[in-house]
Symmetry: C2
Subunit: 122 residues, 2 copies
């Protein structure tokens, strides 16, 4: 009864929709400098731009741009205190990303059973 043609079946099944927001967050994390910034923020609570620039070997403006990228995908927030701009982390987006990866993994648990023959590692 109404069996979909084999050709389009692949596209039909409960596909997990990635969504551009996911891509945006991934992209924001897809840069070594920004990952380092995150790791700095991770144990630094609220840090100023100048503070983040310090050991980077880059210009303050470069760091600023990177921070803006992180800010645009909500990974990072900032509040102003006096003359300085303090940045801190926002867990939400990365949490969601991890959820996405979990979904992928789950999807794979199934797929991997099916493959198995060719997988052979690496």
């Amino acid at each position: 009864m109404s069996q979909p043609s084999r050709k389009s079946a692949r596209k039909q099944r409960h596909r997990l929709v990635p969504g551009p927001e996911h891509a945006a967050v991934f992209a924001a994390l897809g840069d070594q400098t920004r990952l380092v910034l995150l790791s700095q923020l991770m144990d630094g609570e609220h840090v100023s731009i100048a503070g983040l620039t310090e050991g980077s070997g880059l210009t303050r403006q470069a760091i600023t741009k990177h921070l803006r990228v992180l800010e645009k995908s909500r990974i990072v927030r900032c509040t102003r205190r006096g003359r300085e701009q303090l940045y801190s982390l926002n867990p939400k987006p990365l949490m969601e990303l991890r959820e996405y990866l979990d979904l992928v993994s789950r999807q794979w648990d199934g797929a991997l059973m099916r493959l198995k023959s060719l997988v052979e590692e690496r």
Copy 2:
């Protein structure tokens, strides 16, 4: 005894080193088109380039380029069968990525306790 100067303390503590490979994988996932490709591969086992191109609205060559990006960061593998090139997923890199995000989360569980006052969501 030997208390490190407050200034450098932030950089000292067990910082989780991101590493360029992480950035590379994140970057590879930082594109809507490629995420869609992945989702296609997720339920399609082994799919040819032409097959992946089909509903994309892009050129075969564009898709090829994207696949090469995914291939370079090991997210995807391909084997040749006759005249077609069959692509399939490689779970490893994404697994590692999830581990990384888990690390981050754990790191945060600590950091969040410390923040708490400003967090207020969003």
